[in-house]
């Protein structure tokens, strides 16, 4: 993805849901996209599948899947890409599967549309095979169940089976574990990792759960108000974040194993309306560290996405000069005193 911008008309004028977003995912790798609701993480992914209404949405920039440029692609050619080279799995599988059609039928339909020469029996066999692959017990029997006869975890497994049925090179998982019972997400994430190894596909996982990111992602992209604010290798970004918004996300993750000293610190304020973004850095009204930046730079100038202290593999959008030092000295002790004590 190169400099992607997505704009929508509203009654009060155009909003820019995604602004100049760039990222790369390689085959076999996982990119985690984190951000609050409305940060543009889902909108940018929908653009990869060309799911925005081309009559209203204004999309500029470039998205290449394999060698194919997706932006501006005709609907007919886009359709051949969807579900075939790029598949998407959605967060609430109960709502995302059609309530009136059998699971097997819905999987077979996804297969048949991209394999026109296959017979219905082939498609059914393929559906059973995929259900078996994602760990549905007795797949030859459950293939004739309706979605409401599956449990929540099984429905999400079936969604994943449907996404992978055409062996896509890119799988986008939009909050795949959000709607599940507490014990199920770990199994689903394990399954996703296993399948990724097997199919060697690129995976984009969209979430607001940093736990999911820590477990799954090779690269992490943090989004705020339509822009990338931090982008880098997962391990590095999570241990040495250089953008106060990322610090805020880390501080607001509950940690049940931590001692009682650890505190849950919410990010003050609310995400800004895309109709009236603040001048300067979009995050500065909620940023508790903007006073460390000389002058009123935060309030007047949007920082560029630029290399952090560790070089170009870690990009951040922040005016703070010594961000890593501030994080280690001020933020980390607040959220994980144990961790700091251990390192000392």
């Amino acid at each position: 993805m190169e400099d992607l911008t997505v704009r929508f008309p509203t009654e009060d004028g155009f909003i820019t849901a995604v602004h100049g977003l760039s990222y790369t995912v390689e085959l076999g790798k996982t990119l985690g996209i984190v951000g609050e609701s409305g940060s543009g993480k889902s909108v940018s992914s929908m653009a990869v599948l060309g799911l925005h209404d081309n009559k209203t949405a204004r999309i500029t920039g470039s998205i290449r899947v394999g060698g194919t440029e997706v932006v501006g692609l005709s609907e007919n050619r886009m359709r051949k890409l969807r579900g075939n080279q790029v598949a998407m799995i959605f967060q609430d599988a109960l709502a995302a599967l059609h309530p009136f059609y059998k699971i097997g039928g819905q999987l077979a339909e996804a297969y048949l549309v991209h394999h026109p020469s296959a017979s219905k029996r082939d498609a059914r066999r393929k559906a059973i095979e995929m259900l078996d692959r994602v760990g549905i017990p007795q797949p030859d029997r459950r293939v004739d169940d309706f979605p409401h006869q599956f449990s929540g975890g099984m429905r999400q497994r079936a969604m994943i089976a449907m996404g992978l049925i055409n062996d896509p090179s890119l799988l986008i998982a939009d909050e795949p574990t959000t709607a599940l019972d507490v014990t199920v997400p770990a199994q689903i994430l394990d399954l996703l990792q296993d399948l990724q190894r097997e199919f060697n596909s690129a995976v984009i996982i969209i979430t607001h759960d940093l736990g999911v990111i820590a477990e799954m992602a090779d690269d992490v992209l943090v989004m705020y108000a339509g822009r990338a604010v931090e982008y880098g290798l997962g391990k590095e970004l999570l241990t040495h974040p250089e953008m106060p918004y990322t610090w805020g996300l880390l501080s607001s993750v509950p940690d049940v194993t931590a001692s009682t000293d650890s505190r849950l610190i919410p990010i003050p304020g609310n995400p800004p309306s895309l109709l009236s973004l603040p001048a300067g850095c979009s995050f500065h009204p909620r940023c508790v560290h903007s006073d460390k930046v000389p002058g009123d730079l935060c309030a007047t100038t949007m920082p560029e996405l630029s290399p952090g202290t560790r070089g170009p593999s870690h990009l951040k959008r922040c005016h703070l000069a010594n961000a890593d030092a501030v994080y280690q000295a001020e933020v980390l002790p607040e959220i994980a005193p144990d961790l700091v004590e251990e390192t000392l």
Partner: protein
């Protein structure tokens, strides 16, 4: 599922039973001198006090209500003999008595009128769906465009006109003022006698009924379709790479049909029970026209029979809707 249908069936029978009682009581305690219309008819309007007393006695109006209701119900199932004037005539099951206005058996007359009403209802209801659903779906797909807004507002205006006025004006302009040849000869001719006349006689009634009714179905379909198309599973269907046609019809319309079928079942039942305005205006000798005549002539057996008929038709329509609903929505099948 079977137990459910049986339960609904029993509930339906109870409803029909209660309607029959209510209507029976209505004319028992309704008009003064309930036997007078028959007496007048039989004596060429020379119904004096003595004759009226004899008719009242013969028709059972002097007996207790409950025992007469028993006789009435028994007549429906096994038939009975009825004394009219001086003659006793058999009234085979299902016996709803003799019409006070024409002194023919009510059931016999009803049988000859059913094909007319059914022809009107089936034709009209087909047009509801035939026009309503495609227009509604097309409007939903173009939601917010000028075409959609124009359609919605013009249909709203059309459906705000009282139906009888719309039907009457259409009839007046097309058959009396412009005398359009194929449409002008309205009325019911049995299909088996002359299919072409059957068709041309009913065509105007169908069109009027269909156009008026389809405005509602356009609104329902448009609303149901807009709702269905905004569901998550539509996004999934698109993300699978399905062609737009499959997304809209197989995934969208399939879901939107459920609420439409529910309303349609009831509307079709109402049409089958007799369309009073339509039959009256287009001179179709069906159940609706007949019940209108019966009410004005205090022809109580016919009033009772047509009321019971409506109840039965609506109960059956409701039952069918429930069954179709569970066929359409697998989630209903289990519960």
């Amino acid at each position: 599922m079977f137990a459910y249908v049986v339960k609904r069936l029993i509930a339906g029978i109870v409803v029909v039973f209660m309607v029959s009682m209510a209507v029976f009581l209505l004319f028992w305690y309704g008009p003064n001198e309930p036997a007078r219309p028959l007496c007048d008819q039989q004596t060429s309007n020379h119904c004096d006090t003595a004759r009226l007393a004899r008719y009242t006695e013969n028709l059972g109006y002097n007996n207790p209500v409950l025992s007469e209701y028993g006789t009435f119900v028994k007549g429906i199932f096994v038939g009975r003999d009825m004394t009219i004037g001086t003659k006793t005539r058999p009234c085979p099951a299902p016996c709803f008595g003799y019409s006070y206005r024409t002194t023919v058996p009510v059931w016999g007359e009803m049988k000859t009128r059913l094909p007319a009403t059914f022809s009107v209802a089936i034709g009209g209801a087909s047009l509801y769906l035939l026009f309503g659903i495609p227009i509604g779906v097309a409007a939903a797909r173009r939601r917010g465009t000028v075409a959609d807004k124009a359609l919605v507002s013009s249909f709203l205006v059309l459906s705000s006109i009282p139906y009888y006025l719309f039907a009457l004006l259409t009839w007046l302009y097309l058959t009396v003022i412009f005398e359009i040849p194929f449409l002008s000869d309205t009325g019911y001719h049995p299909f088996t006698d002359n299919p072409a006349k059957w068709f041309s006689g009913l065509l105007l009634a169908w069109i009027v009924l269909g156009i008026f009714g389809c405005t509602q179905y356009t609104r329902y379909s448009r609303g149901a379709m807009i709702e269905a198309l905004s569901e998550d599973y539509i996004r999934t269907a698109k993300a699978k790479g399905l062609p737009a046609r499959t997304v809209v019809y197989k995934h969208g319309l399939r879901a939107a049909l459920v609420p439409i079928v529910t309303i349609f079942g009831i509307d079709f039942g109402v049409l089958l029970a007799g369309t009073i305005f339509t039959e009256r205006i287009f001179d179709i000798q069906g159940i609706g026209f007949w019940s209108l005549q019966a009410v004005t002539a205090k022809d109580l057996p016919v009033v009772e029979a047509t009321a019971l008929f409506s109840a039965v038709v609506l109960v059956v329509a409701n039952l069918l809707v429930d069954v179709i609903y569970s066929v359409l929505d697998p989630r209903v099948r289990l519960s």
